[in-house]
Symmetry: C2
Subunit: 235 residues, 2 copies
DNA sequence: GTCCCTTTGTGAACCGGTGCACAAAGTGAT
DNA sequence: ATCACTTTGTGCACCGGTTCACAAAGGGAC
């Protein structure tokens, strides 16, 4: 039996798997709190809302951490997933843009819970600079590069207006940041090697609207909608 | 019952395409504002941050709305995509949970811009019920079913604490809602036919952390991390 | 040890989506 | 009308990811 390297994982975890690991982690934490010692792939899959075969394959990418006939040790699996995701270290994040959304993010408990720490809040508006939000002083955007350096920020969250996002992105990237979570409704162009993830509230709603429309269309039998322009439309 | 429309679109638009249509729409709106009359698939693809072949295939699912040698008529395409997404009608949405996030969502301009209208805000906390936010009165969660009926709400946004989300979801579904946008960090279980979309802020951060860790690992050459448990870990 | 039961880990088929590359279709010039 | 040029729409090969289904592995009883 030839065991490759230490485990079956030669550092090539599929993107789809990575996206689900936080889900498993959350389910496992709930089980840990309820005192469960072990869990089967079936039970964990149900808790995470996925297919059990998929869960097993996902976990197999991390290594062979289960015991046949028994299941997975909850605490051990929490540790392994946390380590894989990099949550055993402390990540300092900066939030740029302290509007309604920025404030919500700053106060959002879910960040702090697992390895993330809001280390800085920045804004361009002099009216909010100096405000104290979630225990932090809002600093002026001019301080961006200095703050990133000083606080060891490695992930930046953009909650600015759309018009400012690209400009801020350019600056944080120039300052050495390579991971950005973007809430502004724009397509950012960034150099190779920089990871951008995008959360777009209105796009999610539009997707829902599409499906909702189809459902109601089907119920009213109104399959035949106008294909052409309506009579009067202002161009 | 043979349903088939005039064009090549027999009502089977791939999910991946649907998810990109809002992106195209946003890019097209920008072009419309700048006065562009037509746009090539190449230019639109760049603006939306996708491959041009993919864009053409996506649009071909809606119908044959381009002109070879010329491109697409901006206004016409805006209209067609809007109609396909169901944005030519007005969608009343209710936001349940008026914490930091709920407030941010209520004030978020991006919703109103395209077919969506925040028609109700609800919360369980008597301290916030009655508050006026974004021009709306916050109503008590007891009124949920009545408000949904009275205002013609068809999409519900959940911005409640995790513990309350499933319960609220059950109620809105019982009230006839079939489209839910969930911001609470829980896996909701819902009956067949109900569409759930989930936005999870901390999961996005965890995915970024994973990639960030790999980048820094690679730079420091630290490929050999401990596979086993650390010496002292509290179970 | 042997038998039976449970559950993992994975080979292999399948499926949706991507992107290349090109024929078809249109424009404009001459 | 013809030619040169542009750009769409799509056939096809490819790829990552999902799911099925089962052999392999472990536990527990006797």
């Amino acid at each position: 039996m030839i065991r490759r390297l230490s485990q079956a994982r030669e550092r090539g975890i599929p993107e789809a798997t990575v996206a689900r690991l936080p889900l498993y982690l959350r389910a496992l934490n709930g089980m840990s709190e309820r005192g469960l010692a072990t869990v089967s792939s079936e039970d964990l899959a149900v808790a995470a809302g996925v297919n059990s075969a998929k869960l097993r394959k996902d976990l197999s990418h991390l290594g062979s951490y289960g015991t046949r006939g028994v299941g997975y040790d909850v605490e051990y699996l929490i540790y392994q997933i946390s380590r894989e995701l990099g949550l055993t270290q402390d990540w300092a994040i900066a939030i740029v843009g302290v509007g309604n959304l920025g404030r919500a993010l700053a106060n959002y408990g879910g960040f702090v819970s697992r390895g993330f720490r809001v280390a800085a809040l920045l804004d361009a508006d002099p009216a909010v600079v100096g405000d104290r939000i979630a225990g932090l002083n809002v600093e002026h955007i001019d301080e961006l590069e200095a703050v990133i350096r000083r606080r060891g920020v490695s992930i930046v969250v953009l909650a600015t207006p759309a018009a400012a996002a690209q400009q801020v992105a350019d600056r944080v990237i120039a300052a050495g940041i390579t991971s950005i979570l973007n809430f502004a409704p724009v397509v950012l162009s960034v150099p190779e090697g920089v990871d951008i993830r995008k959360v777009d509230l209105s796009i999610e709603l539009q997707i829902l609207a599409f499906h909702e429309q189809r459902k109601t269309d089907r119920m009213t039998g109104g399959a035949a909608m106008a294909e052409e322009w309506p009579e009067a439309v202002d161009l």
